[in-house]
Amino acid sequence: MDSPKRILLVEDEFFIRDLYDRYLKKNGYDVVTAIDGEDGYQKAMSTSFDLILLDIMMPKMTGIEVLEKIKQDGSIAKNTPVYLLTNQVQQSIITEAFKLGAEGYLIKAQLLPKQIVEEIKNIFKNKQPQQEIAT
């Protein structure tokens, strides 16, 4: 059997972080959580992951700043797929995230946790996940 996929979950809201952590673990993923942008960046740099789920509005470093840094040349996480897991739907921010190398984004308030897990399964199946449309 394959070893479980490793996911870095960067989310500053305790309730939401704990919720997704529970769901991802229940579905067999190896989850590491980070409590803010800085923590997320440090964890992304310390070891390799199969996927990074990144919130945008966070203290210390925003998701956008984390994304910019981890996609730099020479970064250990340069080729790790990054999906934004956010409630920020401002088109300009999403566009910037895609420019910086994000592969997709999921709107937390629009998806139930189990739907997010389904999306993540799809990502690993190399299927194009259904993208949310900004409202």
Binding site: F15, I16, M58, T62, N87, V89, L112, P113
Partner: protein, 398 residues
């Protein structure tokens, strides 16, 4: 012959002199009329000049080569440029009309019309970049002179303030939507988790159920508080917020608020410490409103505190006032930002702002409510040293 001639002359002289007199009179009348007309014209010119100079809108005349012939005071004021520095210069050297990051020629400007007033075409809102940038609509009329040379009259209606206000409103709506989504995500997520647990007949310990329900409950409280804040701002702005003050046991009011934040404090391993409680203290307040102040201040203190710390609530009394202070151990607030803290929509710049949960309303609302009670609110903070917010409420009817 001579006699005849003389006679002739004598016959015609009075006629000629009469004619001359008549002509002279006519000329004088015409002169007077011309003078009057010239005076009227000069008065009209003055009127137009006064109108042009005092009109709020910017007015620019250009010649057939798009060189500036004339500008008014509004132009000088809005772009902070003197007449001397722009007359006879090509318009494009002085200002650019920009739509969607593209600089427009006068012909292109003429094509982005929103409406038409007689011979003036009015553009949609665009950016006008000169010595200073402004946002406005531009009116364009083309007039031909006797030599059929086309001159352009441009009027710019400055809408920078409206544009900024509109942007602020849009940012606010987008921010409010984002803030509302966070507790909604929690509520939906935890409700769905509980439902799935039941479907799967999982045997979660009773304590876990309590935790999950507690999270739904806390998130609903956050959602409610946010909606209240949004409504309160509207009430304050419209001047329709009123108070229903009564004598309340201050200890009890504070404790009720503290109770609401137990869950979110323990999630961050924060201790909420109430120093020197005094059950004999009474305040003359609108309990619902003043609880909003306490909730906003406690919510801030918890949000900005680093985990494993203490949020201290201290109550003191002097002759007529109760002073309540809430102290956190967060990153503190720079002195430069402190004076703006209680302004509407103000959020602290820097790392705090980028991730802060605030919407720039809590402190504005708190200040309004405290002042309606006759009290005062202030902040004491040093960067890196946490922040203490203190407010006063009256002990009795003022």
């Amino acid at each position: 012959m001579v006699a005849t001639n003389l006679k002739l002359n004598s016959v015609h002289l009075p006629d000629i002199s009469q004619e001359l007199y008549k002509k002279n009179k006519e000329i004088n009348e015409t002169l007077a009329q011309t003078k009057l007309l010239a005076e009227q014209l000069s008065q009209e010119k003055k009127k137009i000049e006064i109108i042009l100079e005092n009109i709020i809108d910017i007015v620019i005349f250009t010649d057939e080569n798009e060189k500036i012939l004339l500008i008014n005071k509004a132009f000088e004021r809005e772009f902070e440029l003197s007449k001397k520095s722009v007359i006879n210069k090509p318009l494009s050297q002085i200002i650019s009309f920009i739509d969607d990051q593209k600089i427009l020629s006068l012909t292109e400007l003429d094509s982005i019309i929103e409406s038409k007033l007689h011979d003036t075409k009015v553009t949609k809102l665009i950016k006008i970049s000169g010595n200073k940038n402004i946002y406005g609509t531009v009116g364009i009329s083309v007039v031909a002179n006797d030599q059929n040379k086309k001159r352009t009259i441009l009027t710019i209606h400055n809408k920078t303030k409206e544009h900024e206000l509109e942007n602020m409103k849009l940012d606010f709506v987008s921010m409010a939507a984002h803030e509302l989504r966070t507790p909604i995500t929690s509520i939906r997520g935890y409700a769905s988790l509980m439902s799935e647990e039941l479907d799967e007949h999982a045997h979660l310990p009773i304590q876990d159920w309590k935790t999950l329900i507690g999270r739904i409950s806390t998130s609903s409280e956050q959602l409610l508080a946010l909606v209240e804040n949004l409504l309160n701002v509207t009430k304050i702005e419209k001047g329709i917020m009123s108070l229903a003050c009564k004598v309340e046991k201050w200890d009890q009011v504070v404790n009720e608020s503290l109770e609401m934040f137990k869950e979110s404090a323990s999630a961050k391993k924060l201790i909420l410490e109430l120093k020197n409680p005094d059950s004999t203290l009474v305040a003359y307040v609108d309990k619902i409103r003043i609880e909003e102040v306490l909730n906003n201040l406690l919510s801030n203190a918890i949000t900005y505190s680093t985990p494993n710390n203490t949020v201290t609530i201290q109550i003191k009394k002097d002759t007529n006032w109760i002073h309540t202070s809430i102290k956190d151990n967060g990153p503190g607030i720079a002195k430069s930002a402190q004076k703006h803290l209680f302004e509407k929509f103000f959020r602290v710049a820097g790392p705090l702002e980028q991730g802060s949960k605030g919407n720039g309303l809590g402190l504005y609302i708190s200040k309004s409510i405290v002042e309606m009670h006759g009290g005062k609110i202030s902040i004491d903070s040093d960067e890196g040293q946490g922040a203490t917010v203190t407010f006063t409420v009256p002990c009795q009817k003022l």
